[in-house]
């Protein structure tokens, strides 16, 4: 190891690499480009990954919606075209029979999927909004950010069928003056007065609800609209490790069974699976990470091989010099070490430059996409990755340096000295 800390060693290395400046630069650029690609691509992939994570942060990852449609096959004496109506009982049955289900939030709503929104008035101001009858468990599936001082529907609201309401941010803006605190105020929904208990912030990323929605206790809704045990649709969250697609199939199969629908009737119940979309998106990000790794490593390899080539040429050119050194007492080991060190030095310098350049570009992209509506957040390459890349550089540099080093010592000093 002594030779690494000797100024002469470095002088030897600088001397020999500065003799072929252009070629040294070209080779360094080869490796630099490789590590730059690696850093930039994997950083970008990480950025997308972070971005997607943020998008899906406010909803349960393995979540889906299920609703009733109408049958497309006759079955068990029923005619085709029978309207399917989900019931509160279905929720219990699903929870009991499908173990992968973590939460089910039944919901009934007005003003969604084509039916009339609800006319809402406060003083002189009015508007028409979607009205949802919800259970508190809904927030387990889709996080609701409530502005300070407010809350979402709780179990007591359900038990007592209170006339309380949570409104979306836009509803607040349209019905209240700026600076006014809506919590505690009353608004008239249809013909009934409700007390506002909270305002939902519009969630960043994926959201189930628009900001012009309103939420009241399910029990209140059912009284108001006389809807009995009917529910509009279910929001279902499966456990994180469950196969969302399979859970979705199981749920629909069970519902067909409960509602006496032909097991082959795919149309009777509709569903949308967020877990599947999420997995596909994340699969894309993973693929990108993997691809950046492959491309980066291939480019680095090409660059390192380039360095090996240059060193091989330079060793050939320096045959005589190496012969002189050996006449002066350089052992084959010392000559070998010097050349390997040259290789490692070039690779590491190129690597560091590439990392700096890559980090710079990532920082630039981050600044440029900060305000853009693009799922791209904090595109950093973790330090261990960078260090790992450097270690790989050293290892590759050493390995590739072995070839010219071996060539340098394979020639006998007497022959090396004869070289002109």
């Amino acid at each position: 190891m002594r030779f690494i800390f000797d100024r002469n060693t470095w002088q030897e290395i600088f001397g020999s690499i500065s003799k072929n400046k252009t070629r040294t630069i070209i080779t360094v650029i080869g490796v630099l480009w490789g590590i730059f690609i690696y850093i930039a691509l994997s950083g970008a992939a990480k950025g997308l990954d972070n971005g997607f994570d943020k998008v899906f942060k406010t909803v349960a990852i393995n979540s889906m919606f299920v609703w009733g449609q109408s049958t497309s096959m006759p079955y068990d004496g029923y005619k085709t075209g029978r309207q399917m109506q989900l019931k509160l009982d279905d929720v219990e049955t699903l929870k009991n029979r499908i173990p992968e289900v973590q939460y089910i939030a039944p919901r009934i709503s007005q003003g969604q999927f084509g039916n009339e929104p609800v006319y809402t008035v406060r003083g002189q101001k009015s508007g028409s909004y979607t009205l949802n009858g919800d259970y508190p468990i809904y927030t387990k599936i889709a996080t609701k950010k409530i502005f300070d001082g407010g809350r979402f529907i709780n179990q007591e609201d359900i038990d007592q069928a209170r006339k309380v309401i949570v409104i979306g941010e836009r509803v607040e803006q349209e019905l209240f003056d700026k600076g006014e605190n809506p919590v505690g105020a009353y608004i008239r929904v249809g013909s009934i007065y409700f007390q506002v208990i909270g305002v939902t912030k519009l969630a960043e990323g994926v959201s189930f609800d628009s900001d012009s929605a309103m939420f009241i206790p399910f029990t209140t809704y059912r009284k108001l609209y006389n809807s009995g045990d009917n529910i509009g649709y279910m929001c279902i969250a499966a456990y994180d490790d469950a196969d969302a697609v399979q859970v979705e199939k199981d749920i629909k199969a069970l519902l067909r069974n409960i509602h006496r629908v032909d097991p082959k009737d795919e149309r009777a119940f509709g569903s949308a699976n967020l877990g599947e979309i999420f997995n596909r998106t994340m699969g894309f990000a993973d693929g990108l990470t993997f691809m950046s790794l492959v491309v980066g490593i291939a480019t680095i390899l090409a660059g390192v091989i380039g360095i090996g080539n240059i060193l091989l040429i330079s060793v050939k050119e320096r045959t005589k010099e190496l012969g002189v050194r050996r006449a002066l007492g350089a052992t084959p080991g010392e000559v070998r070490n010097q050349i390997i060190l040259e290789s490692v030095f070039l690779t590491v310098i190129a690597g560091i430059l590439g990392i700096i350049l890559g980090a710079g570009v990532l920082a630039l992209i981050n600044t440029l996409t900060k305000d853009a509506d693009f799922p791209y957040t904090n595109p950093t390459v973790p330090i261990p990755y960078v260090l790992g890349a450097l270690v790989i550089m050293v290892v590759l540099g050493t390995l590739i340096g072995l070839i010219p080093a071996q060539r340098a010592v394979s020639i006998r000093p007497i022959e090396a000295l004869r070289e002109e």
Partner: protein, 234 residues
């Protein structure tokens, strides 16, 4: 200092082999200044290379300062060269991107000498050859004679037991040659053992002994009265 017995050396060239040295018996005492003469192709360089452990002998024995030189691997040979031998070449063989001082210090680097000490010593030897003020110059900025003097300083810096010079004046004009010979004589005067290969009569006579090679054997080996190099410079 040097003891050679019945040395043979052939070069294989395809199916035939060229018998270059055919039984050399030869010894050199400490402090001698020996010229090895002979026409081109007579095997002078071959002999010197074997003495310098750059080449191997086929038959015979070689003892240097009491150490039998046998079964050398490259690392061992390198260490012996570093410890025992100094080389001066016809074409100087300075490293072109190193300054005069760095060139002189190079064998000391391979002796694992600390840098400060190395530089001090290199400067001391540059001073001996009269080139101290050229220490920071690159070889390309030096004349032929200066280059050879740097090369001699480099060979001497490691304080070898024997200095081997293959045609050290071969690439120099006669005035410069005499300057170099004067330097070699001075180093010899300090007690150093020196072998010089040359085919020039006047250079050979500046040594104390002339060994004449012909057709692979020693034709003549005689002590001569040394001609001082200074006396040749008018």
């Amino acid at each position: 200092m040097i003891e050679i017995k019945d040395l043979h050396k052939s070069y294989k060239m395809g199916s035939n082999s060229l018998h270059v040295l055919k039984g050399i018996n030869f010894s050199v005492e400490e402090g001698e200044l020996v010229a090895i003469m002979g026409s081109s192709g007579s095997g002078k360089s071959t002999l010197l290379n074997i003495l310098g452990m750059l080449d191997e002998l086929d038959e015979g024995t070689y003892t240097l300062d009491g150490v039998p030189i046998v079964n050398l691997n490259e690392t061992k040979a390198a260490n012996y060269r570093n410890k025992f031998l100094g080389f001066v070449f016809q074409s100087f063989n300075l490293i072109n991107y190193k300054t005069a001082m760095e060139n002189v210090a190079l064998p000391l680097y391979y002796q694992r000498m600390p840098r400060k000490q190395r530089e001090e010593k290199a400067l001391k030897y540059l001073e001996q050859v009269g080139l101290k003020e050229w220490a920071t110059h690159l070889p390309s900025e030096l004349s032929g004679g200066q280059k050879q003097r740097v090369a001699i300083a480099r060979a001497m810096a490691a304080e070898p037991k024997v200095l081997l010079a293959d045609e050290p004046t071969g690439a120099l004009d006669s005035t410069t040659s005499y300057e170099v010979m004067e330097l070699i004589q001075k180093i010899n005067d300090q007690g150093n053992t020196i072998l010089i290969v040359t085919h020039e009569e006047d250079i050979a006579h500046m040594c104390k002994r002339i060994v004449h090679l012909k057709d692979g054997i020693i034709l003549e080996d005689k002590k001569v009265k040394q001609v001082r190099a200074v006396t040749n410079v008018q």
